[in-house]
Amino acid sequence: MAIPPLLDRRRLLLALAPTATVLLTGAGACTREAKKPAPYAPTFFSATEWAFVNSAVARLIPAEGAGPGGIEAGVPDFIDRQMELPYGHGAYFYLKGPFINDAPATLGYQLRYSPREIYRMGILAANVSAQRTHGGRFADLTTADQDRFLQMVESNAVQFSPVPAPIFFAQLWANTKEGYFADPLYGGNRGMTAWKWIGFPGARADFTDWLDQAGRPYPYGPVAINGARS
């Protein structure tokens, strides 16, 4: 019986797929991230907003102690780039009205705003609020005051309008974690340092050699989508 041509192609691809994985993870690849990247110039955030994002990320995932901080991992750069993508413009969300503002929280996000708008309004509100509670813009506070202020934002102990403080915080923290853990392709997780810190092998995606080794520590470091290893 004749095999349809597609099956031949499929079989060929099947044979090639593991090879491609090996090539990407093989010892030959050595594209290292530069140690000191050029300073990133934000496209979306204004200078004041950029100061806020940088100082907030520096508290959410601080440099102190072992493990990479959010700044070192490039998280602010990641967030700025995301704001220029469809995600930042709200393209992933249903944003048609009417908007009901007293719906139960369990029914999810009910604001009209895109992630860009949430940052614009949230950062403005945060700086106004920080001025009132701590006598300065967020970026100018001591790190101890910044931590206290972020706790207040997270727990809705400060009044933000029109974007409630916890919603602003939730987006900031979600994007911060994304920038820390996403593939370096998006500008964060620089040098795969966050993956190395927790022991996630990134885009390796082939554990054939570990199927019968459950319980033994996996020995290989991460690989990125562009083939970089660390």
């Binding site: 099947l14 493990g67 969300f93 249903y94 029914l107 996630f200 520590p217």
Partner: protein, 592 residues
């Protein structure tokens, strides 16, 4: 102006699992078929190729393979007096989009229902008495038995190359399999993968407690395998980019990896992607479907006449299209009359986070949607005595771990710092040494849980969104508490340093913000006569006999299993009847 296409024998709405099954069935029989898919064309190459598919942000978080909610979503409310609001961002469930549908980015846990699940009302009444079923619980029997569906379950498992161990082979209970399953006519087509580490610990703990764990039936093929259609699947490598992703290895069964390759060159099949069906058309008697109207990729409205209409979209979309087309009477929860939209149900999930000491290497990134997982079925369906428990149903309890992808799947004990230096230390401490154990539980159907058209919110074409009215009932709170208690006990025997069980406690509302499961069911239910159902045992509309409706929209209530095996079994059962009877003599397949 509406463009009118040349009439065809059959039009298929939605090109996922059931659409693919019906495209094969009808083109095998020589019919001319047009399949309409709302999303884009997709195939393993180039859409799911390595390394680009190994991108958690793009596929696992943003959801680039999912239905774009910006164009169409649903609205949700908890009670029939409430105002529904849109599901604006993904949370509770994920809708598929494009060729293959959600069959591209599912886990591949391929279960059959338990025999008693298919005759639930009768079974409960016989074992516990009629009064055991609450007055507002609207569960009913399937009009088809496990024995009738079994050959079709078996066939679909072979199509998908499912890995597992038979627990009941032609009535004989076999070691290593599920002793509670209905009799199988044959073994699983492929052997199970070895257990991942959390599943090994689970197996040992379950055995200590006297439970019989077994491999999750997995449509992530364990070996190179050729299915009955001559299509080849490759072995899974536990890559960790499975559910929410397309499979780059041709291991996870999807329409693309099992059925579509043999349809590609068929001259009597045309697949039109980016084609959004807005209405099923009827003749003046409203008893004959005459085709569909859709909006094509250029925004042009097109009419496709057809002698047979196959409605094979996702569960919610099936129900919405019936309502938009005015087929059948919409269900009214106040009067209890009408059938379209009736008996919407969901599943109730619980999870235990197990946090081990740092010498226990979980390797959470090694995993798949189903392969390598282990499960017990002791506390599911009616496998245990409910007489003093005060609820109907149950859960399967399984040790999974599908890839430890750090943005979505980082697990920390609830007393860990939310952020800051303490968080950074906690992720290092726990990431490689923690694992989730899950319970997937049934949800019964109730008079006040249903689907209808939303009076306010519209899609990008100006058509009303589907409205879900849903919240938990006492039966399910009790079920979840029972399952979570058993799960907690098993995890204790796995000896973690710390464990935390999250179950939905009595009085808590359905929370749409948190991913739970995409196993939504009902709304176009199957039944024994036109007064209790939208479709008959052959998935044929009672009202419009040349309309067939496939998918979990047919489930009269939900089960404690992943639904794909059951809905595919019902589809193949219908397909055989269409091939053997309907095409020779179109008309009602069940007399009324």
């Amino acid at each position: 102006m509406t463009e009118r296409k040349r009439p065809v024998d059959a039009v298929i709405i939605g090109y996922g699992w059931t659409g693919a099954i019906m495209a094969k069935t009808l083109t095998d029989a020589g019919l001319s078929v047009v399949a309409l898919e709302r999303g884009p064309p997709r195939d393993t190459s180039p859409d799911f190729e390595y390394p680009r598919i190994a991108d958690e942000l793009k596929y696992g978080i943003r959801g680039d393979l999912w239905q774009p909610l910006a164009n169409e979503t649903v609205t949700i409310r908890h009670g029939i007096q409430d105002t529904a609001v849109p599901y604006r961002k993904y949370g509770s469930f994920i809708l598929g989009n494009g060729v293959g549908g959600a069959g591209v980015h599912w886990n591949g846990q391929l279960w059959r229902a338990s025999p008693e699940d298919l005759r639930l009302r009768t079974h409960i009444e016989q074992r516990y008495g009629k009064r055991f079923i609450p007055a507002d619980m609207t569960i009913q029997d399937y009009p088809v038995s496990f024995e009738e569906l079994e050959p079709h379950f078996d066939h679909f498992e072979k199509v998908c190359g499912v890995s597992g161990i038979a627990g009941n082979l032609r009535g004989q209970i076999k070691p290593g399999g599920n002793p509670f399953e209905g009799p199988r006519s044959d073994e699983f087509p492929t052997p199970p993968m070895p257990p991942i580490q959390v599943a090994r610990l689970f197996e040992r703990a379950a055995a200590e407690l006297g439970y019989k764990s077994f491999p999750v039936p997995s449509a992530n093929s364990s070996i190179a395998y050729t299915n009955p259609y001559g299509v080849r699947l490759g072995p899974c490598n536990l890559c960790g980019f499975c559910e929410r992703f397309g499979c780059f290895l041709y291991s996870k069964a999807s329409p693309q990896t099992t059925i579509l390759p043999i349809l590609t060159d068929r001259q009597n099949l045309e697949v039109r992607t980016n084609s959004y069906v807005t209405k099923i058309l009827m003749d003046r008697t409203r008893k004959v479907g005459t085709g569909v109207t859709y909006v094509d990729e250029n925004g042009v409205e097109v009419e496709q006449p057809a002698d047979m209409v196959i409605l094979s979209a996702f569960q919610m979309h099936n129900v919405r299209l019936l309502l938009l087309s005015g087929i059948g009477r919409p269900f009214d929860p106040v009067s209890g009359e009408g059938l379209v939209g009736k008996n919407y149900a969901y599943q109730m999930c619980s999870v235990t986070g197990a946090f081990f000491s740092e010498d226990v290497e979980i390797n959470p990134f090694i995993g798949a949607g189903a392969a390598g997982q282990r499960v017990i079925d002791e506390f599911n369906s009616d496998h245990f005595d409910h007489s003093h428990l005060g609820f109907i149903g149950g859960s399967l309890i399984y040790a999974g771990g599908t890839g430890g992808r750090p943005i979505e799947q980082m697990m920390l004990p609830p007393d860990s710092p939310h952020w800051g230096g303490g968080w950074k230390a906690a992720i290092r401490k726990h990431y490689r040494h923690s694992a989730p154990i899950g319970a997937l539980g049934s949800v019964m159907s109730y008079r006040d849980r249903y689907l209808s058209l939303d009076p306010t919110y519209k899609d990008a074409h100006g058509l009303p969104l589907l409205r879900i009215t849903f919240d938990w009932h006492d039966n399910e709170y009790r079920m979840a508490a029972h399952s979570a208690g058993k799960m907690d006990e098993i995890v204790r025997a796995m000896k973690p340093e710390k464990q935390v069980t999250l179950a939905i406690r009595s009085g808590k509302h359905y929370d749409t913000r948190v991913y739970q499961t995409t196993h939504t069911t009902g709304g176009a239910i199957i039944g024994s006569n036109p007064t209790n159902s939208v479709i008959n045992r052959y998935s044929q509309s009672w009202e419009v006999p040349n309309l067939f409706i496939y998918g979990a929209s047919s489930f009269p209530q939900n089960i404690g299993y992943n639904p794909t095996g059951l809905l595919a079994g019902l589809t193949y059962f219908s397909a055989a009847k269409i091939r053997d009877t309907y095409l020779k003599s179109p008309g009602p397949l069940v007399p009324t």
